[in-house]
Every structure is written in structure tokens, then in C-alpha cells.
């Protein structure tokens, strides 16, 4: 090797200059060892990694914000649907309860989402583009569309408290906004499944076929539970049915995810997410039993307890899946082992 220039090759528009001398050094070519003998005595472990470090970055989202939103957004969408149904079938008390739940949950959803950005004024950047490749962009537009509509619906319920002019305006807007909100609401309950599945997080991406259904079902459980808890027993039958149906479907879909994921389901059964999901199963059972009992005995107390149990089931499911995703991203095993199964063949 000659004494070369201090730096490496220069790449300029007119080509290479001062090509570094060691550029094509034939490492390992000296000496007489036969190729391919190998020196590893210890057999390779089940999987290899760089000092046990994570390959991908776990989500930086705060659980109480984003898992909280997965729950609140679902409850908001589901309650909007129940409000429309209650309106059409002449259940004024249930309608009021559902509209207030939907407006409250939508408002809280926006609050936690904006809080997670760190600086609230940055939220407006979300509205620069409409991007179908980003479920978060589509979701932002869905939620931005839903919030004024459910706000008008909720104001219509409390129009007695508004000044006359405002009450008239809200009254005129109530019907069109109710229709528009009902059209948007179902998508709000399920797109969150696509949102978290559309990442490299092994446990989330692996379950992309089931997550939208699971989150939609869980949203119905939450909305049905909350509306059933907030409505008189005589009117709440549809909320109870929707809540119980959603809860049963969510538990079945949870089992389906476990089967699909195989080894990747480990984070769903271990640690914090395992505890959360086990608790959600208990809440589902308790909620279904209590709501059924409340219907039979016409008991408001049982209805409130059962409804809240179903809402808790939904929240626990969403937090459980959130933490399982984070855990699966933080351990290189869940990235390396499944990819290794279909990785290109290794030379040597």
C-alpha cells in the first residue's frame, strides 16, 4: 500500500478522483486455510441478533393516548350508530344517551390524539394531504368529519340550554348531520385495525386480516355497554344486544388472532398484555351475564354494571393489543425468526 491521500475517493460530477488504494483489498486471501472450513464450535442459537437489540423501533406512542384512542374512537363510532337507530325506532332516552356518549368519546379522541403530537398546533399539518396509503391520514379525515356532526347532534339534545337563534340553527342542521355521521361512523370503528396493522410491528402486522374485525366488534361492545349503562332498561334492548354481540365476536376473533399468529402470539399471552387480555375475557363474561340478567329482571343497576363491564372489556382488549405490539417490536426474536423462515438461502 502506497502512502495515499488522507481521504477516500472523491466522487465528482466528472467522475472519480484519487481512488482510495485499499478499495478492493482482498481481505482474508492470505494464508493457506482451506475455504469453508469454518471455526464455529458453538452451534448457532435458535436465532441470532446484534447483542440482543431490537431490529425495528417500537412505537413511540404513549399507551394512554393511542391505546386510549383505539378504545374511545371505537366507542364514538359505535355510539353514533346506536344513536341513529334509537332515533329511527323512537327511543328518545337511549338516543340522548347515545348522542352524548358519541360526542363525548369523539371529543376525547381528538384530545388524546392531539396531545400525543406534543405540540397541538402541529395538528393542522394532518390536513395538508389526503393519503390513502396512510390509514392515519384517512382516519384523521374521518374523525375530523365526524366530530362537528356528532357535536351538532349532541347540541340538539341539549338545545333547551342554548340561546334561541343557536337552537334553531342546530335544529335545522340536526337531520343532515345525523345522516352524514351515520355514514362515517362504521369506518371509524374499524380503520384503527388497519392503522396499527400497517406497521412493521410483528404482532400487529401478522394479524392484519383479523384486526379490523376485532376492533369493530370491540367498538360495538364498548358502545353497546356505555349506551346500555346510560339508558333506561326499557329502551336499552338494542344497545344490550349490540354490546353482547360485539363482545362475543371480539372474543372469538381474539382466539382467531392467536391461532393465526402462532409463535408471534406469545406477546399476547405473556406479561402485561397477557394480564390485560385475560382480564378482558373476565369482563366479557361478567358483562354478558349482567346485561342478560338486567334484561330479565328489568334492573337498572345490573344494566349499569353490565354495560360498564363490556366497556372495560373493550378498553382492556385495546390496551392489551397495544402493549403486545410494543413487546413484539422490542424483542428481536419476533422480527428475526418469522423472517428467517422465508429469508433467502444463506451462502457458506
Amino acid at each position: 500500500m502506497t502512502a495515499g491521500p488522507p481521504s477516500g475517493t472523491e466522487v465528482r460530477r466528472d467522475g472519480l478522483h484519487r481512488v482510495a488504494p485499499g478499495r478492493d483489498a482482498l481481505i482474508g486471501s492470505r494464508g493457506g486455510r482451506r475455504p469453508g472450513r469454518g471455526g464455529e464450535v458453538v452451534p448457532p442459537a435458535e436465532f441470532r441478533s446484534y447483542y440482543g437489540r431490537a431490529v425495528i423501533k417500537p412505537p413511540v406512542w404513549k399507551a394512554h393516548n393511542i391505546a386510549g384512542y383505539l378504545f374511545l374512537g371505537g366507542a364514538a363510532g359505535g355510539a353514533t350508530l346506536l344513536a341513529a337507530g334509537a332515533d329511527l325506532t323512537g327511543r328518545p332516552d337511549m338516543r340522548r344517551a347515545a348522542r352524548l356518549v358519541s360526542a363525548g368519546a369523539t371529543g376525547l379522541s381528538l384530545a388524546v390524539l392531539i396531545a400525543d403530537l406534543g405540540k397541538p398546533e402541529r395538528f393542522v399539518h394532518m390536513l395538508r394531504v389526503v393519503k390513502p396509503t396512510s390509514p392515519m391520514s384517512i382516519g384523521t379525515w374521518l374523525l375530523s368529519g365526524l366530530s362537528p356532526l356528532v357535536a351538532v347532534a349532541a347540541l340538539d339534545e341539549v338545545s333547551g340550554l342554548l340561546p334561541r337563534r343557536w337552537a334553531d340553527l342546530v335544529g335545522r342542521l340536526a337531520r343532515p348531520s345525523r345522516l352524514a355521521a351515520t355514514a362515517i361512523a362504521p369506518a371509524v370503528t374499524t380503520y384503527t385495525g388497519a392503522l396499527i396493522a400497517n406497521t412493521a410491528v410483528p404482532a400487529w402486522h401478522g394479524a392484519y386480516r383479523e384486526l379490523p374485525y376485532l376492533f369493530g366488534a370491540s367498538a360495538l361492545a364498548a358502545a353497546g355497554g356505555l349506551v346500555a349503562a346510560a339508558s333506561p332498561t326499557s329502551e336499552a334492548a338494542p344497545a344490550r344486544i349490540a354490546g353482547i354481540a360485539g363482545s362475543v365476536a371480539a372474543q372469538l376473533l381474539d382466539r382467531a388472532v392467536h391461532r393465526r399468529l402462532g409463535m408471534l402470539a406469545e406477546p399476547l399471552t405473556k406479561g402485561r398484555s397477557g394480564r390485560l387480555l385475560r382480564a378482558s375475557r373476565w369482563c366479557a363474561g361478567a358483562g354478558i351475564a349482567l346485561l342478560t340478567a338486567s334484561a330479565v329482571r328489568r334492573s337498572r343497576t345490573l344494566g349499569v354494571a353490565g354495560g360498564l363491564a363490556l366497556a372495560a372489556e373493550s378498553a382492556l382488549t385495546k390496551f392489551g393489543y397495544f402493549h403486545a405490539g410494543t413487546a413484539s417490536a422490542a424483542d428481536p426474536k419476533y422480527t428475526v425468526v418469522p423472517q428467517r423462515e422465508h429469508a433467502p438461502a444463506t451462502p457458506a
Binding site: 477516500g8 469453508g36 446484534y50 423501533k57 402486522h205 392484519y208 379490523p212
Partner: protein, 336 residues
């Protein structure tokens, strides 16, 4: 516009709407000639004015950087292995305990540190006089002449500038964009800190800066490229382990280099990210590795998550219809 934007072989710049883009630019990182000097890390930090990422001793060989992040756009990995490099017998003679990756070495270091072992970290432990191996013998494994074998893998990691970049696809603000050079860059005045790109990246490259919430990553020195200069890291690399140029040309050169190394007896040499048919459509920054990718902290077979996005949307729409139908059925089934 084509209908396979989310996968397949594409020219990313032309696909993003540049009518006459310059050739796609990228890096070929030939780890076989990397000497672990970290000049790339330093040059990157200096040119891009990246804040410090803490002075920490990680106990991972000479790597105290750890991994790529918001404040680390180049990261040099160090891997010590008990195996020879090609035909070379670079055994460690006269070393009492063998390379630092050997279990024996850990025992001897632990004995030297005494009771303090594990209680204090890094430089706090001060100088330690290592005694001979506990049982007096040399470390295993040994060659016929009683010496241990050792090779040292060093690799400078960087953003891969994927053909199909998940971070860019999922960004809800349009802050991440494709440059005319086919690279992927964050516009810091647009990023709003939503954090979606962080778990979307299959390589764990892009990361959030904790104090401002926005995300940062390698720009392939977009500012330097725009005026015909090469990126700071490749400019600083003294061995040309990091080579910069048009991706087509780099791929040709890399294929030739692998052949050359195979002929030299380094049969484990392989390219990583150079195949345009892989899960991300090939990367703009690709590597020549001397072991499996996961040993360097790379995913063995990364796939851009948005490949499955059409199916996800389909499921989300069907599920939404199902939710609406269930609600409808609940009202139909409820008797007053």
C-alpha cells in the same frame, strides 16, 4: 402512474412524478473493508449538525452508539466472532483469554473486577489488571497450534432509502417525500410528530427526537447532492467501505466484488438489499455482509408493510359493513 406503487420493480423518482429525474443515487457499503474508524458517524454529525446522543458505554465491543436513531444517522456495528476470515489465519497468539466475545474472557474480566462486577458500568470501573485464565489454559476454541481464532465484523449502518419506503407511505402529513435522486427525506417544518413512521420502518431507522417530538433520519445529504457533492459519510470514509454513486452502477460493482471475495475464499460474502425483487423493492443503500443480516442487526427478509395495505383496507371496509349490519340487526331483534 402504475398500479403497483406499493410493490414490485419501480424507478422511485419517476414514479413519484419527476418527469426527467437524474439517476437514482445511493450507497454501497462494503463491510469487508470497514475498519470501524467511525469517521462516517462523525462526518455525518458534523455536516448535519446533529445533537449528541449521550456519552454512554454500552459494553458492546467498541460500539457505544448502539443503533440508528433520531440523533444517529450512521452507526458502526462491531461484532467479534470465533471464526477465521477467509483463508486467513488471524489467530490471536499469546492472548491469555482469547477474544472478548469468548465466555472465558467474561469470566476473567469478572474475576478482575471482583465484587464490583456488574455494580458499576464502563469507565467507572477504572483500570483492571486481568489475571491469567482461571484454569491456566488458553481459551477455546483453539487451532492445532494452540491459538484462538478471531474475526471482527464492522459495518456502517444507514437509512436504506427503500424503493418502497414504508415511512413515506404511512406519513399522514406528506412531510416525508421522495427526492429527484430517489432518496427519502423528512421535511422538518412539516413533520408534526405523529410517530407513525417509527414502527412502520422495517429496519428500525427513523426515530423520534424526544425533546421536539419530530422524527429525523439520514437525508443522503440531500443538500450536498443538490450541488453535485457526495454525502459527508462516504466522503470521509478512508477505505471506501462506503461508496456513493448511481445505484445501477453500485449494484454492478457490488456483484463484481462478491465474486472477487468468493474467489479469495471468503465464501460467506453476500449482498443485502441489492435485489430489486425483495420485500422493499431493493434499497438505495445496500450492503456487502460477511454473515447473516440479523448478526448486524438487520432484518433477514424485510417487507414493506404497505404491500398488504390494499388487503387491510378491504378487510376494514368489510368489517365496517359488518358493524353497521350488526347494529341494524340489534335494533331489528330488539322488542319493545
Amino acid at each position: 402512474m402504475t398500479d403497483n406503487l406499493l410493490e414490485g420493480r419501480e424507478d422511485p423518482a419517476r414514479d413519484s412524478g419527476y418527469p426527467q429525474p437524474p439517476p437514482r443515487m445511493g450507497f454501497f457499503t462494503d463491510t469487508s473493508v470497514c475498519i470501524g474508524c467511525k469517521a462516517c458517524e462523525v462526518a455525518c454529525k458534523e455536516w448535519n449538525l446533529i445533537p449528541d446522543d449521550g456519552l454512554s458505554l454500552l459494553g458492546m465491543s467498541y460500539d457505544n452508539t448502539g443503533m440508528l436513531g433520531a440523533d444517529t444517522w450512521r452507526h458502526v456495528a462491531f461484532i467479534e466472532q470465533d471464526r477465521p476470515l477467509g483463508r486467513q489465519n488471524n489467530a490471536v497468539a499469546l492472548m491469555p483469554v482469547g477474544p472478548s466475545s469468548a465466555a472465558r474472557n467474561a469470566q476473567v474480566v469478572a474475576a478482575g473486577l471482583g465484587d464490583q462486577h456488574g455494580a458499576r458500568l464502563g469507565s467507572e470501573t477504572g483500570a483492571t489488571r486481568l489475571g491469567p485464565s482461571p484454569d491456566g489454559g488458553p481459551a477455546q476454541p483453539v487451532t492445532a497450534d494452540g491459538r484462538t481464532e478471531l474475526r471482527w465484523l464492522m459495518a456502517s449502518d444507514v437509512c436504506k432509502h427503500c424503493t418502497h419506503a414504508a415511512c413515506l407511505d404511512v406519513c399522514p402529513t406528506g412531510s416525508l417525500f421522495r427526492t429527484e435522486f430517489g432518496t427519502v427525506v423528512v421535511q422538518e417544518d412539516i413533520c408534526n410528530g405523529c410517530g407513525y413512521c417509527v414502527p412502520a420502518c422495517p429496519y428500525g431507522v427513523i426515530d423520534q427526537r424526544k425533546d421536539d417530538g419530530r422524527v429525523w433520519k439520514c437525508t443522503l445529504c440531500y443538500d450536498r447532492l443538490s450541488v453535485g457533492q457526495e454525502p459527508a459519510c462516504s466522503k470521509a470514509c478512508p477505505t471506501d467501505s462506503i461508496q456513493f454513486g448511481p445505484v445501477d452502477e453500485l449494484r454492478e460493482r457490488a456483484a463484481h466484488r462478491v465474486e472477487q471475495l468468493h474467489d479469495a475464499g471468503v465464501v460467506e460474502a453476500r449482498l443485502y438489499g441489492a435485489d430489486p425483487d425483495d420485500g422493499v423493492g431493493g434499497t438505495g443503500a445496500f450492503f456487502l455482509l460477511l454473515d447473516e443480516p440479523e448478526v448486524y442487526g438487520f432484518p433477514p427478509d424485510p417487507v414493506v408493510t404497505t404491500r398488504d395495505l390494499p388487503a387491510m383496507w378491504r378487510h376494514a371496509v368489510i368489517a365496517a359493513v359488518g358493524v353497521a349490519a350488526t347494529a341494524l340487526a340489534a335494533f331489528a331483534g330488539a322488542r319493545r
